[in-house]
Symmetry: C2
């Protein structure tokens, strides 16, 4: 519904949320409240204003307002390791007593030793082996239940909070701000789709059908107790680097006009969003500069999140760099 | 926004569309106007009413109201052949003069002879070869342009209309009716996602990101004139039969509560939607019984749309059978 055709009595409702006509107008919090008033915030506000103003020469119809967000390092931390890897390692340890054969697997040895470089070597071969051991053969419902159980009990080693309470507050505000301006917000992440969908709606307000992630085929079976989908490792799709624009096409089928990332794994989707896009577009990189409140890394990232080429290309491409330490007044919700 | 908290002055707007407060209340057309008042229509209306009534014991929150629609034979005809096959054959003929090597290909010979059984034999091997020849190597933008050009010129041999003007009117009404009750409508079809996305929003009101179809990987490339995605035949996923629930999980990530199909290719997604679903659910099969206005076929379908097992299972599963001849007052828009 176009706001211009709303009856006057409704304008206050739109402006103040769910107030009824009798209420005095509520105070609307300023957008992006946890962002400091720096150039990064200004650039975001200006972009959203110009594409959502019908009188603007660069107005973008709501249906085309697609925004894509990387997850690890962009919406929540990826240190000391991506949270999904922490889940897989915890699952491995939990199930190990019942799976004696696992002990002879070199990936398991590396995992139990906490040897992250060994797990990530050879195109993440060890990591995928751990993911296979802890996920393959489960039904999608069983897998989701395990993720849910882990989120309910595990805590981040440094912040001592459940992992799903570590979303960056400024980014949650940004997601909500874009949606309030009729953007459709998607996750486009190297993380597993089946992993992220367990919490994406609750934590980010992003429904499962707007989650694009790494994935494999599932196999349908009609069992005695109903239909199930069984996880396999077939046709593994890694939604990272050049896989990100491919995943965006496969799952969304249109070019985004706004893209948010933090590493070289996001470079290709930043390009796909911002280079020669017929619509105006926004590319933004969260630069981890805040060792005190979060972490500080870029070229020397230890597990994931290496940021070199995206950083080098940013000035020429017009991508906005968010300096976490200076641009964010808060990092996490209190 | 919950309709119960709307100011009174807005209720008329919601009821009548975009009328402004000064207008007299417009006459709202009855829902599913092209459906006759038979059991099929009643079942649909009752299902939608009970899941969208907040006071109902079986109320389903809007976010969970996922409806999936097969395309060929469910939303538009699939005779004398699926429309995408007609497109591929027309493309083959159009490009043949410039591609002399194609003439030696047995699939091309079968296609030029109109030998449909040969093309569909051996798990559609010939058909996929034609799809490869006419699509692989193109960018996604080039491919969409070709589909668009074809839709603008080609006409259906029997109905003498552009193919995209052959959507079933009762099904268009059903799509709109479900969306008016906060259902999110998806295509889940054996057709190619890249083919259907060209017209899905315009013809069905289904945006590209809600189209689940057969697909292959695309390869990202940053060229001189901007980023492109090149079509390949890698990792072919056929969104049919057991592939449909798998595709639903991969792309949507939740179980639908309403499923609409017309053939044995839809049986597994009907099962996945309706068997042991924690929510109430609806399964519906369009039975082609109308040789006069459209086509009549089920077990003897010639190209696609064979209907045997889904029909046999329908009574036990509680799936609604739509008898096209008796249940639909109109088939196509005038």
């Amino acid at each position: 519904m176009n706001i211009l055709v709303l009856p006057a009595c409704l304008l206050a409702v739109v402006a103040t949320g769910l107030a009824t006509p009798g209420d005095p107008p509520a105070k609307v919090p300023p957008p992006l409240a946890s962002w400091r008033d720096t150039d990064a915030k200004k650039a975001v506000l200006e972009f959203v204003a110009k594409v959502s103003d019908e009188d603007s020469a660069v107005f973008v119809p709501p249906a085309e307002r697609i925004a894509v967000f990387d997850n690890d390092g962009t919406l929540w931390p990826e240190n000391p390791m991506p949270f999904q890897l922490a889940f897989a390692l915890d699952e491995l340890k939990r199930r190990l007593p019942d799976e004696p054969a696992w002990k002879d697997d070199p990936a398991v040895t590396a995992a139990l030793e906490g040897n992250l470089p060994a797990l990530l070597a050879d195109h993440y071969k060890g990591l995928f082996r751990i993911i296979e051991l802890t996920g393959s053969g489960l039904t999608t419902v069983e897998f989701a239940d395990r993720v849910r159980a882990w989120l309910a009990t595990a805590k981040h080693p440094r912040f001592d909070r459940p992992y799903d309470q570590l979303a960056y507050l400024p980014m949650l505000e940004l997601l909500a701000y874009l949606r309030a301006h009729d953007f459709k917000t998607f996750l486009v992440s190297g993380g597993g789709a089946d992993f992220m969908r367990v919490f994406s709606e609750r934590v980010y307000g992003v429904p499962p059908e707007q989650v694009v992630g790494s994935n494999t085929r599932v196999v349908y079976d009609l069992r005695e107790d109903g239909p199930v989908l069984v996880k396999t490792m077939n046709d593994l799709f890694i939604d990272d680097k050049a896989g990100k624009p491919a995943g965006i096409h496969q799952f969304i089928g249109r070019r985004p006009i706004a893209c948010f990332g933090n590493s070289d794994g996001d470079r290709q989707m930043l390009e796909y969003t911002t280079i020669d896009n017929p619509h105006p577009s926004l590319g933004l990189i969260v630069h981890h500069t805040d060792a005190e409140r979060e972490f500080a890394y870029d070229k020397d990232a230890k597990s994931s999140g290496k940021l070199v080429t995206s950083l080098a290309d940013a000035p020429e491409r017009g991508w906005i760099l968010v300096d976490m330490r200076n641009d964010w007044a808060e990092v996490f919700a209190p």
